[in-house]
Amino acid sequence: MQSQLLLQLIINGLIIGTLYGVVGMCFVLIYKASQVVNFAQGEFLLIGAWVCWWLLTAWNIPFFWGFLIAVVFMMAFGMAVQMVILRPLIGEPIISVIMVTIGMSIFFQALMKWMFGTFAQPFPPIFPVDKVNVLGLQVQTAYLMSTGVSLAIMAGFAWFFKYSKMGLAMRATAFSQQVAQSLGISVRQVFALSWGISAAVSAVAGVVVGMVNGVSSALSYFGIKVFPAVILGGLDSIFGAVVGGLIVGLLENLGQYVDSQYLKWGNLYEIIPFYVLIIILMIKPYGLFGTRDIERV
């Protein structure tokens, strides 16, 4: 029974960890491309989930199309946020930019509450069965889907940054905006696109989590949870974000196990990622996979 519970928690940890990883990648994408620490990342999940929920419940659109429209909308939304709010801030001190993203976070959260109310709203049932049995373990169908989608997104990111022209352009921009411009890359386009992709992919994660827990402002806590994940992995490493996400997801669930079985403190689940974050930063200040520049003259 005990080991059964442990196994279940580990599976949960990996599933939620891949989601953290995906949102972490989105966070790192924005940071790498445009050097903005986006504290409104969680709100991208929230808005995406609400838009999808609204399309499904108010317009009775089939899930697939509602999902697709929400993602496309969030792509445009992310680009608009960059172009309207953040573009004028290019060159301003980093603290101003951070304050603006924190402001955006508060604003969007309030806006969502105003538009859709403060109560959690369940998604209409999408899968015929709620949970499926995988090797004797109960797994939410939505989570199963989420893992599939997350892995697909990760593979997509890997391909995008390795082989696509725009992905290379984003890496070049992350390396040096001046060099990117000297190669004919429009840095403005890269910034807008990175925000667009980040918001769209975050919306996917938002919908998936919303399907399991219902849509409510709690979704935006993902943005905070993702913070230890990306710092753990190294703020500028997309791969690190995935690993960091998995570690945080696992830690949360193992923390819960230790807590419920032995310690009985009651809140280790929430806290443990941050403890580990502090310890890792003391040992490796750049995070696990964060890079220092290659120097060779």
Partner: protein, 279 residues
Amino acid sequence: MADAALKLEPVAETGAAPLLAVDNIEVVYNDVILVLRGLSLKVPKGQIVALLGSNGAGKSTTLKAISGLLKTEDGEITRGAVTFLGEKINGIEPDKIVRRGIFQVMEGRRIIADMTVLENLRLGAFTRHDNEVKSDIERVYEFFPRLRERTGLAGYLSGGEQQMLAIGRAMMARPKLILMDEPSMGLSPLMVKEVFAIIKKLNVELGVTILLVEQNARLALSVADYGYIMEQGKIVLDGTAQMLQTNEDVKEFYLGQGGGAERKSFKNLKSFKRRKRWL
């Protein structure tokens, strides 16, 4: 001879309009620092033009003013015009200038260290939408056979190899004009020779026009068709490469060949207003 060369109109000027014309530009950094004060030069199609001068003369600034990268450093052309193929290009975003056919190989090579050689080359072709990118990569490898063997990150290449990659990356854009900033910087003498041979080859075999900024005046003039010498943000002397190589002042200050006894003091020179060293 020096006086004759001081005329504003370049001697080698032919009737045809030059590929690039910089006309009396003034460049200001951060709204206050005046770096170029009325600089003019012309780059005829198919030639290598060398732009020489001491540190801080404004050579790199001139190149950045042409490529538009000045904007990324808070600089601005406040007066004058840069004309490329008959169209005024100052004030245009740098990425659009690349699309028009001007590609700058920046000082210090600036290859993307955390990418592979191949990825760097593919990025060079960012502005292109044809399907000859693959064959162009092959051509770069033919120019620089040693790049083919380097499969790791570009940051681990030697300085010379990085310079080759930077030039190869420029070739990938198929530019009409390459602005080359200090290609010899930090390279061994042998490697410098190799790089300059390649610059000449680029010009002769591919017909690329090159505006070359260099500290190493001797080498630059050995490959160039025409040369400009600048001091304190202005052109002070220009002429064909041969003419400059034999000019007494150039010999003394840039080629390190001493002049006669009467040339011991800078203040005797009218054509060179050198900055006083203690200032």
